[in-house]
């Protein structure tokens, strides 16, 4: 649609003017890492972040989300979408959001996600500092970058803001932003064109080959070896921008008859994930850690490819960094399997 120019020193006042309209969720520092958080002070905004601990899906699909409340046997839905700007989303996360959009809309549309998603305005941002474990430059390349409403690209003396949807246009219409010059626009295009080259880690295999080889390795003993140090903690699942599994629990409240039903992010690496209660105990459809570890890689590289048009991995590298035993890095695991 249209391109605008924001000088470097104008970024904070741009963010400030968005905050005047609605809450802005953006990357801020936390310890040695970054997280997406609601901006209180615009000075906290860190568009130079490498990656965040949790992906921005948490804005639409919170780690713990109430689904319904009940009292005296009557249940009511807890949908309560709050309009927000999600600012500074990296391209790999935009791709992941377009995947979860699809997964939550297909077949049975899940309004618990979609209602939050629909009221959010997403402003992407190019990667200024690549995360050391990231490999987005060599995966999900065929996947179109869609789902965001605008995109900020850092150029030498400021930012170019590309607005790509009406929702985006509406958000910034009254901000009085200057149009980007042809020169600025072309510099931004240059920055984005070579973004993937700066990605630190490369996955040197085509998605189709990976999918086939991983599937064919289902019965291989390599999974036992690869998962030997696995804690079944599910950190790789929880930090993944394309994971969307959840558990549902009911909880009574302190009143006589009230309570709620909520969902919480779950992960296929946890031992209780595939467990069902049966007479006299339980039956677990993926009892050992190798089976669960394998399931995750099957799901990331093969199972969802038809549905998504790409593997369910965007190369953010969060799982690699989140795994204490450092066995979750898709680049390492896929390479081991491809070479086996």
């Amino acid at each position: 649609m249209s391109g605008y120019y924001i000088p470097s020193e104008g970024l904070q006042s741009f963010a400030q003017s968005l905050m005047a309209k609605m809450p802005v969720v953006a990357p801020v520092a936390k310890g040695k890492r970054f997280i997406f958080d609601q901006l209180g002070d615009v000075a906290e905004l860190r568009l130079d972040y490498d990656t965040t601990v949790l992906p921005p899906k948490k804005v639409f699909f919170p780690p713990k989300q109430d689904l319904l409340e009940f009292d005296e046997g009557k249940a009511t839905s807890c949908l309560d979408p709050q309009a927000k700007v999600l600012l500074g989303v990296h391209p790999y996360d935009i791709k992941a959001i377009s995947m979860t959009d699809k997964l939550f809309s297909d077949n049975y549309a899940d309004s618990n996600y979609l209602a939050n998603r629909e009221v959010a305005v997403i402003i992407g941002s190019n990667v200024q500092t690549p995360y050391e474990r990231a490999f987005y430059g060599s995966i999900a390349q065929d996947l179109e970058l869609v789902g965001h409403d605008a995109f900020l690209t850092k150029i030498s003396d400021g930012y170019v803001l590309d607005v790509v949807t009406e929702k985006g246009e509406k958000l910034i219409a009254d901000l009085g932003l200057a149009d980007a010059s042809a020169e600025q626009t072309s510099e931004a295009e240059g920055v984005n064109a070579k973004a993937d080259e700066d990605c630190p880690v490369k996955l040197p295999f085509a998605a189709g080959d990976v999918s086939e080889k991983v599937r064919n390795s289902f019965k291989s003993e390599i999974w036992d070896e690869l998962s030997k140090d696995c804690f079944s903690c599910g950190s790789c699942n929880l930090v993944c921008p394309t994971c969307y599994c959840f558990d549902v629990q009911d909880e009574w409240g302190l009143g006589a008859s009230n309570g709620k039903r909520y969902r919480r992010w779950d992960g296929c690496l946890s031992s209780e994930f595939s467990e069902v209660s049966v007479q006299g105990g339980s039956e677990n459809f993926r009892e050992n850690r190798a089976e669960r570890y394998r399931h995750r890689f099957m799901r990331k590289t093969a199972y969802l490819n038809d549905k998504l048009g790409a593997p369910a991995c965007v190369g953010c590298g969060r799982c690699a960094g989140a795994c204490t035993a450092d066995i979750a890095d898709p680049v390492n695991t896929i390479t081991r399997i491809m070479e086996s």
Binding site: Q249, D250, E291
Partner: protein, 285 residues
């Protein structure tokens, strides 16, 4: 397959259940309760044999259950049946419900048996233990529309005579001419005069089995591969074998991921699968 959001609650929330009235609650074995239910608030329950619901009690949760009644019954009486085996927190809350109480429900969900494909054919149903509940929906359907089907054979195996479900039905089927009913128990008691052993032994009593027969298998996970092996002996092709699978189906709508087998969600793409479609899927059988 699923036909969109035709059974969603308020706000289009697919995870918000509807209300169902308990009409009858009968404890049928030490751990199983047979419920006769009726939708409340003017809601309808239009289902196919083999489909499932997420049945629940607010404050405790939901569990996936297959319909134990035929839609032909529901058309007549407006009621439908579920059988709950008490195994955990939610099922304990469910079996404590009494007539007049409210159960919550989302559904029908899942695909159900391809009834039209069964019409005009011989049918064999192999049910183990609680596997008789979801298959009872199809059994009753066939018996209600008996002329639409050819030879109908039913195998039922349970651990002990005391654990046999639907004893009144079994009495009828034992003497019935429109179904060839055979049963077996793993462990007999002093009153049991029937056969003792595993369910696959019942195949030995079949003189023949038309390879065109449509077969349904539902029972404990261990049972499937042995029954399928027997069917191979009668040259029944994989396309004619339908398995009704159990998994941890938490959301029932293909989202939460717990029941996933390869690219299939048991709750949404199943729970009924044509064996030829899943035989190469690891972790399925």
């Amino acid at each position: 397959m699923c036909d969109g959001n035709n059974n969603v609650g308020q706000d289009g929330n697919i995870l918000l259940p509807k209300e169902v009235e308990v009409v009858e609650a009968k404890k049928v074995t030490a751990s199983e309760t047979h419920f006769v239910l009726k939708m409340k608030n003017g809601d309808a329950m239009d289902y196919k044999p083999g489909q499932i619901v997420e049945a629940g009690v607010l404050g405790y949760g939901e569990v996936p259950l297959g319909f134990a009644s035929s839609p032909t019954q529901t058309e007549k009486t407006g009621t439908f049946d579920l059988v709950v085996r008490e195994v955990g927190k939610v099922t304990k809350a469910l079996v404590s419900l009494q007539p007049g109480d409210t159960m919550t429900m989302r559904g029908p969900l899942g695909n159900g048996f391809p009834v039209e494909e069964f019409e005009g054919n011989d049918v064999l149903i192999v049910a183990g233990g609680i596997g008789l509940c979801p298959t009872r929906s199809m059994i009753k359907y066939i018996l209600d529309k008996r002329d639409d089907f050819k030879k109908f054979t039913l195998f039922f195996g349970s651990r002990t005579p005391a654990e046999q479900l639907f004893v009144e039905d079994l009495d009828v089927w034992r003497g019935a001419e429109d179904v060839d009913y055979k049963e077996i128990v793993d462990n007999a008691d002093e009153n049991w005069k029937g056969k003792v052993g595993v369910i696959t032994q019942l195949f030995k009593e079949l003189d023949e089995l038309n390879p065109e027969t449509k077969v349904i298998i539902c029972g404990p996970p261990i049972m499937y591969k042995f029954v399928i092996a027997e069917l191979k002996g009668f040259d029944v092709p994989d396309e004619n074998i339908f398995v009704d699978l159990e998994r941890r189906m938490k959301c029932g709508v293909g989202k939460c991921g717990h029941c996933q087998i390869n690219d299939k969600y048991v709750c949404m793409d199943g729970p009924v699968f044509r064996f030829s479609e899943i035989k190469d899927l690891e972790e399925a059988i």
